[in-house]
Symmetry: C2
């Protein structure tokens, strides 16, 4: 039995770091606040008797030794970074559920066969640095480390520089090859409305949607909003606006499952009486079927070309992030199911709508995920919330699933 109150208290303690006025969290990757969060995690894990290792991508691993140190660790974890207006649970719940597992094992004086590790993955959100899950992606061999360290934020600062600045550019290779993983579990809030709507406490995550992310730049001609006739304009914002609407139509055309979002847009020169000459914006597509994702890709490209042609804009379009739908590993999903059964929790199978570090880990280790509901299905929002009993239940399931794998 885990200690739900202790877990909740730790979540609330961590939520003070980067707390926002509206009750959320702003703890962007590799900022000073991210460092404070990392330091607190390391302190708690050391107090729990763990050894700490940090790899070149800044991923942190807290290790509780097993009876057989030669066995690959049974790992859990998630991320401590947040969105600019993020919540108190997204990511941090998976990390602190892992810490609660360590503490519970200590309370019980329980020795596992395999070592147990809790990981903090760097820059999962993909908000300060795109793409998302870049550091677990490097660890899983999807990206090389140079790619990872050279990701830039909007001010041109790289992940490598910022890792060094906050003191988390570790010495270890960021790779499953030198750090094999026996099994990986990740607990997370659902970030969607399904569990709460169906009054289920646990989501047994069997799959994750595929994703495609794009960066687009439309270039027209900057010109005066007053004396430039409508017929002579090459308005980059008008083009971008039409693409926003087209992206929405593409999402709806593949509803109810598809998601299609323009989350970011920067207008230049962004002056009230200047026809915008350049607009940078992003597109995020998701679908559980890779074929549908490919169709959405085609539709986007056709719409972008049509719209740019209509207005006379130059187009740059780059797909900067793509992963296929993920199927989690059967024995790990089974371990989650058993944990759910032991706790007697209401549950259902789920497809993850969000990307998670587990999606990359799934490529290099047997992996599964555990979801708990969040209030109104809202995440990536300061009001993100969850009930303490959900939080405790997910951790309970995590403990049981990890113990099964650690003692196999």
């Amino acid at each position: 039995k885990i200690n739900g109150q202790r877990l909740w208290d730790s979540l609330m303690e961590m939520a003070k770091i980067g707390a926002t006025e509206k009750g959320g969290v702003c703890r962007l990757a590799l900022t000073d606040l991210d460092r404070q969060g990392r330091d607190l995690f390391v302190q708690w894990c050391k107090e729990a008797g763990c050894s700490i290792r940090v790899d070149r991508m800044g991923n942190i691993f807290a290790r509780r030794e097993g009876r057989n140190p030669a066995l690959p660790p049974i790992m859990t974890g998630s991320h401590l970074d947040s969105q600019p207006t993020g919540g108190r649970f997204d990511g941090v719940y998976g990390v602190l559920a892992g810490v609660e597992v360590l503490r519970t094992l200590n309370d019980l004086g329980y020795e596992t066969e395999a070592p147990v590790e809790v990981a903090v993955w760097t820059n999962e959100e993909g908000s300060r640095f795109a793409p998302a899950m870049v550091a677990s992606g490097v660890f899983a061999g999807v990206f090389d480390v140079d790619y990872g360290l050279s990701r830039k934020d909007q001010d041109g600062k790289t992940m490598g520089e910022e890792l060094a600045r906050i003191g988390y550019a570790g010495p270890d290779d960021a790779s499953y090859k030198s750090h094999p993983v026996g099994a990986y579990f990740e607990a997370h809030i659902e970030q969607g409305p399904i569990l709460e709507a169906e009054d289920k406490t646990i989501g047994v995550v069997t799959d994750a949607q595929g994703q495609r992310w794009y960066e687009l730049t439309f270039t027209g001609v900057e010109s005066h909003a007053g004396p430039t006739p409508m017929s002579r304009r090459k308005d980059a914002l008008l083009g971008a606006a039409r693409v926003v609407d087209a992206v929405n139509r593409i999402g709806l055309a593949h509803a109810p499952v598809a998601c299609a979002t323009v989350g970011m847009m920067n207008v230049y020169p962004n002056s009230r009486n200047v026809i915008p000459g350049r607009v940078f914006f992003t597109v995020d597509f998701r679908h559980p079927s890779d074929d549908v994702l490919a169709e959405m890709d085609k539709e986007l490209r056709a719409e972008v070309d049509r719209i740019a042609g209509e207005i006379g804009l130059q187009v740059e379009l780059e797909q900067i992030f793509y992963y296929k739908p993920v199927k989690f590993e059967a024995s790990c999903v089974e371990a989650v199911r058993k944990g759910v059964a032991e706790g007697g929790f209401s549950n259902r199978d789920m497809v993850s709508g969000a990307g998670h570090d587990a999606c990359y880990l799934a490529g290099v280790a047997p992996t599964a995920m555990i979801f708990v509901p969040c209030i109104d299905g809202i995440s990536h929002n300061e009001v993100e919330d969850a009930k303490p009993e959900w939080i405790a239940a997910g951790c309970e399931v995590l403990l049981h699933a990890m113990l099964q794998k650690a003692n196999e």
Copy 2:
């Protein structure tokens, strides 16, 4: 006869202050660069024997005394501030054409009956601080001085603070009441394509379009781009995008004369995988008929309500700037016509598409404007350009018009 080469050289000298890589100028109102531009203007005018006064809005007046100092001055001028990616002529041409008039009068040892003044108006562009022409508006009694000084830039700095910081918060009342103007002329590049297309050197400006500027904020619900079904979204950017398209349709519906532009848009939290919860954007409408402008206003409000209703967004809509179409004063327009005739310049009557300080001065003094072409009709762009012979011709006309009024 003015000295065209001297005027051109002064323009090029001033263009070094805030010069951009692409050959344009970035000299935003009340920045250190704006101060440098002002200092250079003051230096040149002192060298030309003028006295200098600065009012509370930072408007600068350089005065060349007349035979009869009790007569209200014949004034010319424009502005030294630019757009973020502005050109070398917009505004600064009108100021330095005034300086060239002073220098020519000195060369000739010419004494005018009324004094002659050259004005630099603060923050004409409305880019760093909205609205446009705010300081000539205060001078003309359209806004009160507290309104003017409290205008804020995007960082929350006020015009009052920034005037004090750069040393241009003058002691004089910013009002035509304590500073009556005998007549006001302003030379400016057309900023549109008509003169060049028709191969005319001078535009005799008889009217200026009316303008309405709006600020809009759409508020929806920030949420995760992955697990939030399309049907549950309240995407503020989708709403704003549809308004951009609607604004374009409204402009086209009243073409060829109407202009309708969204120049500025800020998306929050502006993160790739977050459905935007809030978008701030601006609308700029122009038309020579006040009735049509009122129709456009109605259409905008209807479209905004319809679109916000469709998506479930909260709306804030404020008209922050409005002036009716302006008719310039007959005797001043006549003085411009005579100047054109004396120089033998090809010309046509014109309606100004842009707003100018002259539009506010027109409310408190007999006023007219002189346009010269600009290459490809492009302005509010770093590539903005004009031919030296156009620049000289406009100044020649300005000199003649001012002398007529100064010796009436």
